[in-house]
């Protein structure tokens, strides 16, 4: 089975802190994604990566950056956390192109106080 793991299920950080969310997949997938999900807004794509050291902006990249140094790991970085970044963050991976099945991790619920 494909497994996508995220470093934390719950995280509480203070405003202004630098936050790292880690995601690891074990299926050698080329694509990896970071989404955030808020009530009533569905899933919104923050960043995605289709190869090591490659990244592309999604719909809402402001306030976030990403890093992909190894194929299996995709990190989301909040340079200076703000309260409006309180959300559920979901990582996903997929083998190839845009229509391929995405496998999601369990999510990290981040609260910024």
């Amino acid at each position: 089975d494909v497994k996508v793991t995220q470093s934390s299920r719950y995280l509480v950080k203070r405003t202004g802190e630098k936050v790292f969310l880690e995601c690891v997949q074990d299926m050698d997938h080329e694509n990896m994604f970071w989404y955030r999900q808020d009530p009533g807004l569905g899933l919104r794509l923050i960043y995605f990566s289709y190869d090591v050291k490659m990244k592309e902006k999604g719909d809402i990249p402001e306030g976030y950056s990403v890093s992909r140094e190894k194929k299996e790991r995709f990190s989301l970085i909040l340079e200076s956390a703000s309260t409006n970044q309180t959300s559920m963050y979901l990582c996903a991976s997929s083998p190839l192109g845009q229509g391929d099945e995405q496998y999601f991790g369990p999510g990290t619920r981040l609260t910024v106080t």
Binding site: L41, F48, Y50, L90, Q98, F104, P106
Partner: protein
């Protein structure tokens, strides 16, 4: 990318068949239609994917008319555990690096 439109919410009683329709009027020739299911506090998971006519698996059926401008996810005899949000996505497989767009989905509530 083809945009999709689906109902915001639906209610159903246990044991009934539920049909959720998704509109995708500008679907492209190479686009497939994919449905995901999401339970509370979990990431979405793949349910079914199709290109045309009908696809069936152990969980659901997907009906796609000849013009492919819409599709219907059919869940036979739903149970309380089918209460979830269902997302319809449209895009080409193995084509390019632009990911699919998840909309707001349809929130299905199954009532005992």
């Amino acid at each position: 990318l083809a945009k999709t439109t689906q109902p915001i919410s639906m209610d159903s009683y246990e044991g009934q068949e539920v049909n959720i329709t998704c509109s995708h009027n500008n679907i492209a020739t190479n686009d497939y239609i994919t449905w995901y299911q999401q339970f509370p506090s979990q990431g979405p998971r793949f349910i079914i994917q199709g290109y045309k006519t009908k696809v069936t698996n152990e969980v659901a059926s997907l009906f796609i008319p000849a013009d492919r401008k819409s599709s219907t996810l059919s869940l036979p005899r739903v149970s309380l555990s089918d209460t979830a949000v269902y997302y319809c996505l449209v895009g080409a497989i193995n084509s390019g690096n632009t990911p699919l767009v998840f909309g707001k989905g349809t929130r299905l509530s199954v009532i005992a």
